[in-house]
């Protein structure tokens, strides 16, 4: 029997993987992809809860609406983020995180 717990655990692991990737990788693009993985994990949680919270015999579509919006916003964010990365590449000729250390104190 697959319970809610299973889905939540899968989602959690996916999120942890994404976090590990963000911290461990040097290439900005790959970091960004891992970020997207984290977002997807959250979406999975939402959908799982939506299905398991039954009102009037139907799944709760509020959570699915939220997933809808999340996917939309994520898409827009990816577009803008990649544009920024391109601009960064033009400035520094590199997509390594080591070249982006202006915040160093």
């Amino acid at each position: 029997m697959i319970t809610l717990n299973h889905y939540l655990i899968v989602s959690g692991m996916l999120f942890a993987l994404g976090l590990a990737g963000v911290i461990a990788r040097r290439n900005i693009i790959i970091i960004y992809m891992c970020l997207e993985m984290m977002l997807s994990a959250a979406n999975l949680t939402l959908v799982a809860f939506s299905r398991f919270r039954v009102s009037e015999g139907l799944p709760d579509y509020a959570a699915q609406s939220l997933v809808f919006f999340t996917i939309t916003v994520a898409a827009a964010e990816v577009a803008v983020g990649l544009a920024i990365i391109v601009a960064l590449y033009r400035a520094k000729q590199s997509v390594e995180t080591e070249s982006v250390t202006k915040l160093q104190g």
Partner: protein
Amino acid sequence: MPSLLFYLFAAITLGFGVLVVSARNPVTSALSLAMSFVGLAALFLGLDAYFIGTIQILVYAGAVMVLFLFIIMLLDIKAEEGKSPNLPAVAGGVILAVIMALQITTVCSSFDKGGVKIKDAPLNLQQAGESAKLATIANDLKAGVLPDAKLMGLTLFQKYGFHLQAVGLLLLVGTVGVVVLSRREKGVKDA
């Protein structure tokens, strides 16, 4: 959803997820991510979220990952050959991931304690069919089919109409922003 399918798609999602994190070649990472999304979409479908699952494939795997690949090709990012992994960072990441996984597992496993039982909640379509307002939806429900898209549409346009418009505006802003950000300074030609 039969347990086997669940475990299969969960394995696909997580497996390709690991590949995303550990691959040297960025293209490999991108493609793995696409596959991970596909696995995720399958999980969505298993959760009776047909509309969302479809959207996931269309938007995420179809548009976002393609965009990623375009950029990787554009910037001509080579594989990180010969460079040793950044050990402190990797260690940090692994530590965090492990701790997080442990925490979540612990929390989730304890759901069945303390009297709260979560089990596969059955859907009652007939009952929903009686209380549905729209005729099409009611008909579909009574026929034993879950009209996922119609119900999503109903929720989106009735309850979250304003949010929908806002997100539309957001997409417009995003488009304009991308165009502005990609502009070159005067006098420098794009190769």
